[in-house]
């Protein structure tokens, strides 16, 4: 703390500004959680474990969310499983194999992809992807459709994160590898990728959070039937879609139940981020 005494006044101002922004972000998140808890407290108390049942029938006073929690997780997990390997492979290829003339245009294209609003992906999914899946496995609007659209959405950012992680590795590592007569693939597999793994992993987890929170695109292509899917071709409903579909028309207890959906979503995200943070903490870069 003594260091602050010697800071120039401008730095001291900045320091307070930074503290204030940190406090504001933390306070708003805490406020959201508090409001959710406050609004849903009596409802949660009266419903108890019933919110973890499977049946969602607001008209009959049944507010089971298990199938939707599973829906959110399944759609996002499959999306991640599809997008992450492609993103990492593509980023590695762009950085170490692709000709320079190809690299820059590709990266610009990817950045452009990252900037497309999600509702556009949703519209594409609804008009192109869903009818296409429908030809093979009706009804088309399904877990798979949702995951494919999400995968497309998170792919660009996952790729850019991986690219940055690889770029930030010390250049001496690859030179040392080459000096040891390792193949380029050997250096990549044994040295560079493991070295960048923690950054890549945390980037991918952030994308997972984004996938969990995505609403419109998922709502448009997932079918939104509250059920446990038996295959990737079955429709599912996510927590976010549930809120967006019913909020405008919900009153009383039904409305409170939608707040609980929001609370569930925050809890799931918090658990996942904590897990990822721990996972990352145990990884060590090769020295």
């Amino acid at each position: 703390m003594t260091i602050t005494l010697f800071l120039p006044s401008a730095d001291r101002g900045l320091r307070w500004l930074l503290r204030l922004s940190a406090l504001l972000s933390a306070a708003s998140l805490g406020g959201i959680v508090l409001v959710l808890l406050w609004r849903t407290g009596p409802f949660l108390w009266s419903q108890g474990g019933a919110v973890f049942a499977s049946g969602w029938h607001p008209g009959a006073g049944e507010y089971g969310m298990a199938a939707m929690i599973a829906g959110s997780l399944l759609v996002s997990l499959l999306a991640l499983a599809m997008a992450a390997p492609v993103a990492v492979t593509l980023a590695a290829w762009l950085r170490y194999y692709a000709p320079a003339a190809l690299r820059r245009p590709t990266l610009i294209l990817v950045e452009l992809m990252a900037g497309i609003p999600s509702v556009v992906y949703g519209l594409w999914g609804l008009l192109v992807l869903v009818p296409w899946i429908n030809r093979w496995a009706p009804p088309g609007a399904s877990w798979l459709a949702g995951s494919l659209v999400l995968a497309l959405m998170i792919l660009p950012l996952a790729l850019l994160v991986t690219d940055t992680a690889l770029r930030q590795l010390p250049p001496t590592w690859s030179r040392a590898g080459e000096a040891l007569a390792l193949s380029r693939f050997g250096v990549l597999r044994r040295v560079l990728l493991p070295g960048a793994a923690p950054s890549i992993l945390s980037g991918v987890v952030l994308q997972f959070g984004r996938a969990l929170g995505e609403t419109m695109a998922v709502l448009m292509v997932c079918g939104n039937v509250v059920q446990w899917p038996h295959s990737v071709f079955d429709p599912v409903r996510t927590l976010t879609a549930n809120i967006a579909l019913e909020m405008a028309y919900a009153t009383g207890e039904h409305r409170v139940a939608l707040f609980v959906s929001g609370l569930m979503l925050i809890s799931v995200t918090a658990v996942l981020l904590t897990l990822a943070w721990r996972l990352r903490g145990h990884q060590h870069a090769p020295q």
Partner: protein
């Protein structure tokens, strides 16, 4: 001194505002609130009367008007027999049409067939005279008045509906059905007819032998329809009367059409 006089003038102006400007409060049906809000905007621009439109459901509209909390209530249904203390003014009609893909050869379904399809006991178009395809049942999300009206008409319970896709907005329903030759869904007639005429690959099925068209809704022949009403307690006061007349006039008929409702005949 100059500042002092400014404040006095401002206060006087504000007081004058409070005296001359009327204020109307409307509450009720979430189906009607968006279009009535636009009607109110146009009314404000023309008359300077401030109109406050709040959504909250037909039930709230009726009880607010009874308690005097609102000047006018919005009710997206006809008044019940125990609501004789209220007077209703129908400003528009809304109908619900069953829609299928344009290429679906089935030209009509009986009420029983629709019921069987939505309950899952009929799950292939072959059973109702169509091609051998499993039926994609499109249902509306919980809480929507379109869903309630549909369930009530076909005497279905949402719990027993075996849906393959659940949609929110009318437009989403139309796109789902247009993209799936085996789908059946139901949406607001106005939007369905508009899309069908604009070339979207959907077809409206007749209901009870009556074609699903804006004209048949307007002529009160189409069975699955409802009235969009403005309701007041007893006889409307002058300010409310003026707004109801405006909401009824040709000056706002385009707004109802924009929201895919059928302006009431006058």
């Amino acid at each position: 001194m100059k500042g002092y006089w400014g404040i006095v003038a401002l206060t006087a102006a504000l007081a004058a505002c409070g005296q001359t400007t009327d204020k109307l409060v409307l509450t009720g049906s979430s189906t009607m609130a968006p279009v009535i809000a636009e009607v109110a905007e146009r009314y404000e621009a023309q008359t300077g009367v401030q109109v406050d439109v709040q959504s909250g459901g037909t039930g709230r509209g009726v009880s607010d008007v009874r308690q005097g909390l609102a000047d006018i209530g919005m009710a997206s249904r006809a008044l019940h027999s125990d609501e004789g203390d209220l007077t209703s003014f129908t400003v528009a009609q809304d109908g619900i049409a069953l829609i299928v893909h344009r290429d679906n050869p089935v030209s009509a379904l009986s009420d029983d067939q629709v019921r069987a399809i939505y309950q899952g006991s009929t799950d292939n178009w072959r059973a109702v005279g169509g091609e051998n395809r499993p039926i994609t049942v499109v249902n509306k999300a919980e809480g929507r008045s379109t869903l309630e009206l549909f369930l009530e008409y076909f005497q279905l319970e949402n719990r027993n509906v075996q849906a393959d896709v659940v949609i929110g907005e009318n437009q989403q329903g139309i796109k789902v059905v247009a993209g799936d030759p085996a789908a059946i869904g139901y949406v607001s007639i106005g939007s369905a007819e508009y899309e069908a005429q604009a070339g979207t690959s959907i077809r409206l099925l007749p209901l009870g032998g009556v074609a699903a068209r804006i004209e048949t809704v307007n002529g009160k022949r189409y069975p699955l329809r409802r009235e969009l009403n403005l309701v007041v307690k007893g006889e409307p006061a002058d300010a409310a009367r003026a707004f109801i007349d405006f909401a009824h006039s040709d000056a706002v008929a385009d707004l109802y059409r924009d929201h895919y409702f059928v302006p009431a005949q006058r």
